[in-house]
Amino acid sequence: MTAVHEELRNVPPVKLVVQNVSKTFATRHGPVHALDDISLSVREGECVCMVGPSGCGKSTLLNIIAGLETPDSGAVLADGKPISAPGRDRMVLFQESALFPWLDVMGNLMFALKLKPNLNKQARREVALYYLGLVGLGKFAHSHIHELSGGMKQRVALARAMAPNPRVLLMDEPFAALDAITREQLYDDIQRIQEERPKTIIFVTHNVREAACLGDRVLLFAPRPGRIEGEFPVPLSRPRDFGSLDVARHASEVMHALKHHLQSEGMEATE
């Protein structure tokens, strides 16, 4: 029991510092400058949302912070230590759920927990059930993945990402494929869970309103080369309602800047 308590202890969120990160990809149409000298600092427990048109490098930056890609130059520091590989302190929630269809719901959570030393089978089960309860799917421990709806899959994926008790959550357009009603429920859930188990969150999205609803700060990215074009604090109290006027006001501020930027670049705002 003590091992479980120890495992479920809230770990302090981490401070992330991105220092002069650049990344170029070679493509058939020549090199693409995905990130150009990006610097940014994220406070412990802060939720930073990154918005911007396709190809602005926001997902690349998220992958670099996850350790799934390496920058050409620059560094990412987590509490002062440079990141060089993926680690359980930084978990990722992908756009598709990335759940393993050959395992049931419980098996997916256990996959993450089995890779953690110092926990016996019973303790791992208890921890897994705790996180399933946290996302409201305690009754679905033995469901197969294909039996779940899109929203449920993302909840399980969130539980699996939370299970190793990371200090950073990296979310790459996790709700983009869901319908509007499901998405709004998930906004409430994310905020409730963040209240219970605070993490440093980086949230990549196309949806400006989603960013204003979830973020303490919204960063506007611009493409070619990928860079941060603007920064918008969202000093609203929580929990926030996706439909509230305050959220809409902040969203329109970001949207306005985005449109302005796109016009100055001679591009269409397609999102």
Partner: protein
């Protein structure tokens, strides 16, 4: 109930039509034997052990060759999927040899190994290896890279990733590759047995061949029916359980 009755009725009608055609006497009974004489052959050859023995010999050759083929083909498929150099060398060889009908291996096998068990084994293995290799390679390549990335964030690396993620993720493809390999192995063995007389064992293919030599049409048809039956049973026994499992787990359509 209907699903049981309609095939029974269908095949019953087929046999009756067959018997009626034979009785009409349009064709010589040497060319088209009656179902009854085929049944008699079944009874005779079944009782004196000819059929059972031939089935045993054939199945032993088939299973041995097939499993050796899988044992070689599956790991090689993983290697061509994993290492570029293997894909550019071995992968090309596999693609080429897979297009070669397995019967084409028979002359070579005979010259190398003579009229021995090894010759048939070789032909069956050659029939299995390349299709199993290509299916595995294809399976590993088609799995979504997101699984590996997700596993890496959870702390999975190298061997753990291969055993716990890539292998199970490509299982549906591997099973269909194994099924294809089975079909190739079965066809190549029949070809080899009809073509090559091997004195150490008398298989179904040889029974078929001697049926022709002796003008024993009842034997030819009976052996063909048995070959069909074995193909169907193998599908039910070897692959159906896997496919049901995959269907339940992955939610793939059958």
């Amino acid at each position: 109930m209907r699903r049981v009755l309609s095939p029974i009725f269908f095949f019953g009608a087929l046999v009756v039509a067959w018997e009626a055609l034979v009785r009409a006497g349009i064709w010589s009974p040497v060319m088209i034997p009656s179902p009854l004489s085929v049944g008699e052959y079944f009874w005779r050859a079944g009782m004196d052990g000819t059929l059972g023995g031939a089935m045993l010999v054939t199945l032993r050759r088939l299973l041995l060759g097939y499993f050796i083929g899988l044992l070689i083909g599956l790991p090689l498929g993983f290697m061509t999927a994993r290492f570029r150099i293997c894909k550019d060398t071995l992968g090309v060889v596999a693609l080429g040899l897979q297009t070669l009908p397995s019967i084409c291996w028979v002359p070579l096998a005979l010259l190398w190994f003579g009229q021995t068990e090894v010759a048939t084994l070789f032909v069956v293995i050659m029939g299995t290896v390349w299709s199993a290799l290509i299916a595995t390679d294809h399976g590993v390549r088609t799995i979504s890279p997101i699984y590996v990335r997700a596993a890496m964030t959870m702390g999975s690396r190298r061997l753990h990733t291969w055993v716990k993620v890539i292998l199970p993720a490509s299982l549906p493809f591997i099973v269909s590759g194994m099924k294809q390999g089975w079909a190739f192995a079965w066809r190549s063995l029949m070809a080899a047995e009809i073509y090559v007389t091997i004195l150490t064992g008398f298989g179904l293919g040889q029974l078929l061949h001697y049926g022709r030599e002796l003008h024993a049409m009842d034997q030819v048809i009976a052996v063909m029916l048995i070959i069909i039956l074995i193909g169907l049973l193998a599908d039910k026994i070897l692959f159906s359980p896997w496919e049901r499992f995959l269907h339940r787990r992955w939610g793939t359509t059958e």
